[in-house]
Symmetry: C2
Subunit: 187 residues, 2 copies
């Protein structure tokens, strides 16, 4: 697809990650990112709506897909299982390159702005889960609640997966989180 230099978007992401790690997220300017990527400040904004989004490029707009995956499960699968099986797939996909994700999580942890955006992405995923569950016929309130809690469990599992030394399957992390939450709620 690309016409000029093939990977403007990828170059911007790489330049941003490099600079953020060198000097910290907040002290890096969009102009500096663009310069290192061989572009102008104006072009940065043609690829990303703001500075934070450059670290969430991959997660962008996969939410319809998530809703479809959940809705695709048959009625023989409970709403809970449809949600968690789907989120297991999502987690496996995201954790394909664990080292990169761990690095990304370090950056996010270093900036309140990035944490704020991370929560937004998680909320979008929760809404997508809720959409899929509603398409399966689950009442709106239940869909919202399960979407929110499943996403919270996903996030906990995801954070722990990116931090562990020995990689263990994401499914295990997610199952542990869900079991923990269930146990804590039923006392």
């Amino acid at each position: 697809m690309p016409r000029w230099n093939p990977d403007a978007r990828a170059r911007l992401v790489a330049a941003a990650v490099e600079l953020f790690r060198e000097r910290g997220y907040e002290s890096v300017t969009i102009g500096e990112i663009a310069e290192r990527a061989g572009l102008t400040r104006r072009s940065f904004f043609r690829h990303f709506p703001d500075k934070r989004e450059v670290l969430f490029a991959g997660s962008r707009e996969k939410t319809p897909e998530i809703a479809e995956m959940i809705a695709a499960h048959g009625d023989d699968v409970s709403a809970r299982d449809a949600a968690f099986r789907t989120l297991t797939e999502v987690g496996d996909y995201l954790l394909h390159d664990r080292a990169a994700q761990a690095l990304r999580q370090d950056l996010i942890a270093s900036s309140l702005e990035l944490q704020e955006r991370e929560r937004t992405k998680m909320a979008a995923m929760g809404a997508a889960v809720a959409d899929g569950l509603r398409a399966r016929g689950l009442p709106v309130d239940d869909a919202e609640a399960l979407g929110a809690v499943a996403t919270e469990a996903f996030h906990l599992a995801y954070l722990r997966a990116t931090r562990e030394a020995e990689p263990t399957p994401f499914a295990d992390h997610l199952a542990t989180s869900v079991a923990g939450i269930t146990r804590l709620l039923t006392v």
Copy 2:
């Protein structure tokens, strides 16, 4: 305490809410808010770190209190009950003026920026709950998980409480949310 006109902070909040309702959050300038409050733009930033925060003035820094309330419950109360009893109190306090809260939620719903900040506030509450639970001796992972889920339940209950026509006790909303989540997780 106040030296000049007694309520600079409150005047800024009032001016901001008025203007946001008149013309929408995004098209209002901080300079305009300050002007209506009889101050300068620079003084706005002496009271609030940014434009979003003016709508979260009340919720600011009550988190240590929440942690203390949870830790204060004796060992005869389960972690779950300590958390939810505390959040019931918080909800009752926040919903003292339901009309104002409903209005505030309308504003938040109108802006992605404000929704992002709302989630940050909720996350801060979740961390406070986790702090309190850890002080009670709950393992870190459990404290994080319960803090996150309890806060999610709180948020759902809070949103529904601000939207209903006939005011019903917040405790009922929260109990309903928790029961729903538990039911959905245990299939």
